[in-house]
Subunit: 337 residues, 2 copies
Amino acid sequence: MPSIKDVASRAGVSVATVSRALSGKGKVSEASRAKVRRAAEELGYVVSYNASSLASGRSRNVGFVVPTVGRWFFSTVLEGATSALIDAGYDLTLYNTSGQDRHRHSVFSDLLLRKRLDAVITLTLKLRPTELEQLRAVRKPVVAIGGLIPGIDTIRVDDFNIAALAAEHLISLGHRDIAFLGGTEEFEVDFKLGSAREDGYEFAMDQAELPVRREWLITADFTVQGAYQKVRNVLANPRHRPTAFVCASDEMAFGAILAARDLGLSVPGDLSVVGIDGHELGEMFGLTTIDQHAARQGAAAVSKVLAILGEHELEHDPTDGFFPTEFVARSSTAPPA
Amino acid sequence: MPSIKDVASRAGVSVATVSRALSGKGKVSEASRAKVRRAAEELGYVVSYNASSLASGRSRNVGFVVPTVGRWFFSTVLEGATSALIDAGYDLTLYNTSGQDRHRHSVFSDLLLRKRLDAVITLTLKLRPTELEQLRAVRKPVVAIGGLIPGIDTIRVDDFNIAALAAEHLISLGHRDIAFLGGTEEFEVDFKLGSAREDGYEFAMDQAELPVRREWLITADFTVQGAYQKVRNVLANPRHRPTAFVCASDEMAFGAILAARDLGLSVPGDLSVVGIDGHELGEMFGLTTIDQHAARQGAAAVSKVLAILGEHELEHDPTDGFFPTEFVARSSTAPPA
DNA sequence: GGCATAAGTGTAAGCGCTTGCATCACACTC
DNA sequence: GAGTGTGATGCAAGCGCTTACACTTATGCC
């Protein structure tokens, strides 16, 4: 493996000049720069990140902490983040707690602290006080996606209003018997995200003077399967069944639609369903939803991180605002029969 | 940030002893080890990976190259890999080419080469000759999942036999009109994976002396949506429609099931469907499938990498064999009407 | 008691870079 | 012609570790 010295001697300059020429910092004449570039190319030289990081204190590497990569929202945000980071020439080190406490502990008490990271992005993780402290001890920029952590930059959508909007949409179609399918806090993920959405739903119902029935306030684990079962239970009740569902995620909305179909109910004929997310499959199911642009949230988090690191200017600072969402009307909602 | 020197002086020993005590290499008395541990704890000291890597040549970090994290198989393998790596105290650096050539190029010609990795795992990537060469130039262990690359350790399932088995299952139920839904090579992902599965299907059909109809050899992009559309096209043909489908992935099988339902066909009454994967949703759809234990494949790749790095012994070397799969019979297959 | 051997520790030389500082050549200005 | 600025370069001191080697002290054995 060629080192900077090899490049230097081949180019006939000092290592300092090579470093400056390749990194673009400091003054180097065009002539030297060309010589260095060529020598590096010929030798197949690539700078050693470890040495570079050690000497400069910059790693060009950001840590990304997720509760799992198995769920749509997480993998989609991750996709957006990786893409943005590659463009910036940064590496992304993935810390996946997999919902296991053991892993979570390793991540926060060891892995994140090893000085290989320039910054950390956390994805809908409800940090415990000790974790927050550990994170601060690293003295690196931290950006959170999907929840408000005191003192930490955050990218988040307006869960309350999103859910309220979803409910209002159904109400305006004439629905009165509207159920809400929220998410449980599996993975300690939530930051009241679930409850912010539930609050929004209840707010809209109150505004319309519609009753919120306790047995129609149900929760599942954000997965299709989980939602399927719960919704099926509700819809199978022959006495009184809702004519519409507000679901806290698209995947759960899919579960609701599938449950309805399996019971012989048509969507939207017998049941209207609204989701929240913007999942690719939404189109296929004709799902009315509120797109929260997950991939863009990942990119936005990266953008914010890079801005803090001084890599570029932040275009329009969305620090305090909510991340924009978009209502997408499709065929899973219609006036009640 | 405390450095090893701080720990050394606090513990009243030399930095060498600290290094040895903390890494577990070399001889250190119990007394010193205890002193060092305590000093480190009190200072909140964690070794700097960069410095450690630079000095030792070991990074405790493996690179993981994926075409995308958006598809079930990839994110599931990734989940398995992250879990195994965390347990070993390794970091995972994620290189996601996102199907973009620009990113792919950065990854192979830059990012992977920066000497921050002890090994590389590639996920169903069909490497181009130059990429293979670049990878070799790194002189680090490489393990591939999901395809055979000459001269590289590989974890892979027996695609030919899996597909043949799926077809034989349908044949044994009495089906004669069996279609095959294969995958396209989006992302240049495939290694003839698609065609190995197609070959297996054709082999089984030949053995049973059943005709393979060209118009029933269809392909989609491995997604639910893609499959839905293609299958719908086939099933909507009133003249002659298959009574069963072998699908090269579970997600495509879901698409097939949904397409059938939307056309008023019942599964398995009017159409039997077999998938390949072992997707979580399979249970909900009652999908008969061949589970390829994606998460375990990720863990196996990690295990192999760690063995090569000398971290542990490889239990039972599956180097040459195929990764085991499992037939899961559920309710999406039945004898034809 | 003498000697080989082993166990525990410290010294110091790197690992491959970055970067502050010094140097030098070459304009300019007055 | 002396003084001053400026651009280009090199020197060398680290960055925070690991580890070969040397050294000191205990241990075992005849």
